[in-house]
């Protein structure tokens, strides 16, 4: 038998052995972490070819997504904020509301619900502004924004309640900054833009303008009058003092004094931290508290914001997405000096440097009791085409893959221990600072979520929530062409437990409340914070991955008004509701 013939005979045997080895060698780690289920949920994948861009900036900035239970039937519905195709500014592109059916499929109920606003859609905020138990909607537009009151019967009414904003609104968020029991509204505005402005990029070819070409716009703050109407308090609150090219906003106590602050991500300039002075006014302290720039002291093109306690020290940390060539920045809260940019030591290793990040969120996708990060990417300036981009001759230049990072709680690269001299130099920083400054480490697990990360597209908004009610967090993403993509979480090992906590105050979700779980082994902190990410609004219910912990000893809530209550423990793997006034104050 010749050598070749021998090999030919042996080949099937070898292949069989390899196949068996591969099959038996498969582990849970080989299963994709997320699967795209857009079609299975009833969404059409056939989107007519999106026209080439016309280089008008708003066409590459939208649009947002809201994931919320608008009809209070116990499952999450989706509001998609849409915008017209390039070159067709005046053709209406109504927003769409998709209602989740008991089967898990979605149907378009826009018309019946009366929420199909036809403005040039950008972002969305969701909140119960009248404390009547249902969720109202605020839509930002390039052009006048719109407020929709939820009638409680599955329909909405477009109303003028004093929250008019005619600038280019981007992200918006509700929060009770004055602790008077109702939700106020903060709207970020981007730039003073005129549609006919076209810029040139590489080699003088037309491209989208850098935002610095335009004057920054002033954000707006509206105080809820407690009667269903709002007053514009931008001037008296001090927000008008500094303008910025705002794209993202969160409302949460970031200074530890129990009062809600506003953190705004600005494009290409210092971010703003509006610190609540507790008298209805704010002062801007981002530089002083380490949230204006990156660790290099440089302003970045900030887009989306994620908030969560990534290092389990009971303090909210922040993650801000940025442009190509800039890292997405992880700001870790420090007891004594505000926030520290820990991006470089958190294991990202510049993986995100070549991409332009927009929507982002902390989520414990594997329910292992620490927060992971998902982010979606897509350029705003033309650059080399990446392999696999197939979204049209024009848009391929803007397409990028998404990324997924897993928190693996390995020790970070920080090894420095303070010298005696340094301890003396600032005892408070170094005696407490290091002990209470747990570090965090992430690994790039994008390859394990190919449906989410291998498509080369232009993505913008992202919202998070347990869409299929199976105990883990799923994702929905919007693209530059008004396309939605749904990603089902298939990650958590079966032995990992979870708990969903809905915190209620005054008949509504307690935005800004801090929820802490005490378990035998650890303390976990989460925040009622739907308004985060980029232009989007996620499920306000707080999700906790618990790892192998199956029993919660106690639940503590620090409510937005500063009061604290303790609630009794619960077994894991369920959804519970805690209401202010029903716990034990402490």
């Amino acid at each position: 038998m010749s050598g070749n013939a021998f090999l030919t005979k042996l080949c099937p045997v070898i292949l069989t052995i390899v196949a068996v080895l591969l099959w038996t060698g498969r582990t849970e780690a080989d299963e994709p972490l997320f699967s795209e289920v857009t079609t299975a949920l009833g969404f059409s994948q056939t989107v007519s070819t999106w026209p080439p861009g016309t280089h008008e900036l708003p066409e590459v900035m939208g649009g947002g997504i809201a994931l919320f239970d608008y009809d209070d039937d116990g499952d999450l519905d989706v509001l998609q904020i849409r915008f017209p195709p390039p070159g067709k500014v005046n053709s209406p592109a109504p927003n769409r509301l998709f209602q989740q059916q008991p089967s898990g499929m979605f149907i378009d109920v826009t018309e019946a619900a009366g929420i199909g606003h036809t403005g040039y859609g950008q972002g969305v905020a969701v909140g119960d502004v009248d404390n009547d138990g249902d969720l109202d909607v605020y839509v930002t537009n390039y052009g006048p924004d719109a407020f929709y009151r939820n009638n409680g019967d599955g329909t909405f009414t477009l109303e003028d309640i004093g929250v008019s904003n005619n600038s280019w609104g981007t992200s918006a968020t509700f929060g009770d900054y004055d602790r008077d029991g109702d939700l106020d509204l903060y709207v970020t505005n981007y730039v003073q833009f005129a549609l006919e402005t076209i810029c040139r990029g590489k080699h003088s070819a037309p491209d989208y303008c850098h935002p610095s070409v335009f004057e920054p716009a002033t954000d707006q703050l509206f105080r809820n009058n407690n009667d269903g109407t709002f007053t514009d308090v931008t001037q008296q609150a001090g927000i008008a003092e500094t303008s910025g090219r705002g794209l993202g906003v969160v409302c949460l106590d970031l200074t530890g004094d129990g009062w809600a602050d506003f953190y705004v991500s600005n494009d290409g300039e210092a971010n703003h931290l509006w610190v609540n002075q507790t008298d209805g006014t704010f002062t801007e302290e981002a530089i002083l508290r380490g949230l204006a720039f990156n660790t290099y002291g440089q302003p970045e093109a900030s887009m989306g914001i994620a908030v969560g306690d990534v290092n389990n020290d009971a303090q909210p940390d922040l993650y801000v997405t940025h442009l190509f060539g800039e890292t997405n920045t992880l700001y870790i809260a420090s007891n004594d000096s505000g926030f520290i940019d820990m991006t470089e030591v958190a294991g990202f290793a510049g993986i995100d440097l070549p991409f332009t990040g927009f929507g982002c969120g902390f989520l414990d996708f594997d329910n292992d009791a620490d927060l992971d990060i998902a982010l979606v990417n897509g350029r705003v300036r033309r650059d080399d085409i990446l392999d696999g981009a197939e979204i049209g001759e024009f848009w391929n230049f803007y397409a990028e893959p998404n990324l997924l990072f897993q928190n693996n709680r390995q020790p970070s690269a920080i090894s420095h221990q303070p010298s005696d001299k340094e301890r003396n130099f600032n005892r408070s920083l170094f005696t407490d600072g290091f002990r209470r400054f747990p570090t965090v480490h992430f690994s790039d697990v994008s390859a394990r979520a190919p449906d989410f990360t291998r498509r080369i597209e232009v993505s913008r908004g992202m919202a998070l929530g347990d869409i299929d009610k199976d105990g883990d967090i799923d994702m929905v993403v919007s693209n530059h062409d008004n396309r939605l993509r749904f990603f089902r979480n298939d990650a958590p090992p079966s032995e990992h437990h979870y708990l969903f906590v809905r915190a209620i105050t005054e008949n509504r979700d307690a935005y800004g409340a801090e929820v802490t779980l005490q378990t035998e082994s650890r303390t976990l902190t989460g925040y009622v914070l739907p308004g985060a990410g980029y232009l989007s609004s996620s499920d306000p219910v707080v999700h906790f991955g618990l790892g192998i912990t199956s029993e919660i000893e106690a639940i503590e809530v620090r409510w937005q008004d500063g009061n604290r209550e303790r609630f009794q423990g619960t077994p894991a793997n369920r959804r519970i509701t805690v209401s202010q006034g029903e716990g034990v104050s402490f």
Partner: protein, 528 residues
């Protein structure tokens, strides 16, 4: 049509070459969008050279330069990689590979730059880029080592101290961070990155006032001093698009090489050129070369565009237009002054000042980040006008202009020195004295200013203070005979005859024929 033909030819040649399997040349994906013939030609020429000599690392490197200078980074990387394969021991290709991948693939950048430094560890920018890639990867200690190396090689490079401070702060070594950042601010007081971290450090230390001061400074964009990177010039030189000519021109200007600057700008100068900065820089370069007529023509063209060209005006905010117009008037005035047309110089400078008061000055709340630039510029314009008035003997007017300049930048020592000079001319010594003092306190070290202050003090009979000033003069200029004489007179005034004799003896040593010194010595010795 020509452009299209050229592009088709380029694509055809590449297609044929690939079909033959000759040379696989990396192509920019958006080459088809390029309309500039010069650029297409440059690409064609560089590609042709590669096709002719596919085993020559230099031609691959040159094609990489052409791509990189026109921001096609991905194909540039491919070219440098090929050059590196052909010439593995050539520092440049590894350096460019490392530099280009710092922001795309830091792990690869570390590999390339480490290898580059084994070939040439004396190239400071390579240490800096390596430090940058190491930082992004969280390898602080190694990054620190390369920053120290870069500092040793190029002590005034704008990044070593800053980044060392940033790394120290990231590692919570606050004291060390502060030291480095203070050094960084000494090199460039306007580095906003350093101010931002100093604000945080001051906050940590509870020093709210200092924190606020640094936070305010951090809001202004940094103008970094250029990093000396000779190999980068190779890339810049490969550029054939307008921004690259302009950049090269400005770099030549910064070096004081106006001949080459003019050569670069001239490529861009045509009736259709609407880039105001190009016209201004071209005009200023010509001014430096004393080609006054051409300078004036260029500057007047800029003025015309700013005043009436709809495209130019549409792209800029009103206060930006006004600021550019003011700059243009200022330089035109300088042309008038240099050519002896003082009346025209005065009128034109006054127009620039008017623009500031009517437009730019009022825009400062809108654009706070540039207020120091605006005020510095307009202080300069007032000072220029003062010089013109001084030149034609209108000294009161000159003083008025200097005072206006000082209202804008009260601590600028040169202005204090110059206004004192006018007072001196007018023999208004009492008014000159505080300005000379401020000038000297703020760093003016010109002998004339110090000497004159000494004389003013001598006139007042403040002999000891006068002697102190004259001694400073002698420290700077050991052969300053008049200073020794003045010291002698001051000692005489103090009644210290021996010291006075010593001073005049010094004068005689330096100027043996000095009648004044001989007479003074005779008189003093008689008194003794």
């Amino acid at each position: 049509m020509k452009t299209l033909s050229l592009l088709l030819l380029l694509l055809l040649i590449n297609g044929l070459a690939s079909a033959k399997g000759e040379v696989d040349i990396p192509q920019p994906a958006d080459l088809g969008l390029v309309e500039e013939k010069r650029l297409l030609k440059a690409v064609e020429t560089a590609q042709k050279a590669v096709r002719n000599s596919p085993d020559d690392a230099e031609v691959w490197g040159q094609l990489g330069h052409v791509y990189l200078s026109h921001r096609w980074e991905v194909p540039a990387i491919a070219c440098y990689r090929r050059a590196n394969t052909l010439a593995p021991d050539e520092f440049r290709w590894l350096y460019f590979l490392g530099r280009l991948t710092t922001r795309r693939d830091p792990v690869a950048a570390v590999k390339y730059l480490n290898r580059a430094l084994t070939l040439n560890d004396a190239y400071a920018p390579a240490h800096l880029y390596l430090a940058s890639a190491l930082r992004v990867s969280g390898k602080f200690d190694k990054a620190r080592q390369h920053l120290e190396n870069a500092k040793g090689l190029q002590p005034d490079n704008p990044f070593s101290e800053l980044w060392l401070g940033e790394i120290a702060f990231a590692q919570r070594q606050v004291e060390l961070a502060r030291t480095h950042l203070e050094n960084a601010l000494r090199l460039n007081p306007d580095q906003s990155e350093a101010h931002a971290l100093m604000a945080q450090i001051a906050t940590v230390l509870g020093d709210k006032e200092t924190a606020k001061k640094h936070a305010q400074a951090a809001r202004k964009p940094t103008r970094h001093n250029a990093l000396s990177d000779p190999f980068w010039w190779d890339v810049l030189r490969a550029g054939v698009t307008a921004p690259l000519y302009a950049e090269r021109g400005r770099r030549y200007m910064a070096k004081g090489n106006y001949v080459d600057a003019v050569a670069e700008f001239e490529v861009l100068i045509s009736r259709t050129q609407k880039d105001i900065d190009v016209w201004l820089d071209y005009g200023v370069s010509l001014l430096h070369l004393e080609r006054y007529n051409q300078a004036r023509a260029a500057l007047e063209h800029a003025q015309m565009l700013l005043g009436s060209d709809a495209d130019v005006r549409k792209e800029k905010k009103p206060y930006e237009i006004a600021y550019l117009q003011a700059q243009t008037y200022n330089y035109i005035a300088q042309v008038y002054y240099e050519t002896g047309q003082t009346d025209a110089a005065i009128l034109t400078t006054q127009k620039a000042i008017q623009l500031f008061h009517n437009t730019v000055g009022k825009a400062q709340p809108v654009d706070k980040t540039r207020d120091s630039e605006y005020t510095a510029f307009f202080a300069n314009v007032h000072a220029n006008l003062a010089v013109v008035y001084e030149g034609i003997g209108q000294l009161d007017q000159a003083i008025a202009q200097y005072q206006k300049a000082l209202e804008l930048v009260p601590t600028k020592s040169a202005l204090h020195r110059d206004i004192a000079g006018v007072y001196w001319k007018m023999r208004r010594y009492t008014e000159a004295e505080p300005h000379y003092k401020t000038a000297i306190t703020n760093g003016a070290t010109e002998v004339q200013a110090v000497y004159r202050l000494g004389l003013i003090l001598l006139r007042k009979g403040d002999y000891e203070a006068a002697i102190a000033q004259f001694e400073k003069v002698i420290e700077i200029d050991e052969a300053h005979i008049r200073a020794y004489e003045a010291v002698g007179i001051a000692y005489e005034g103090l009644g210290d005859v021996s010291a006075a004799i010593g001073a005049f003896e010094q004068v005689l040593q330096l100027e043996p024929d000095s009648k004044n010194a001989s007479e003074m010595l005779k008189k003093l010795r008689e008194r003794k």
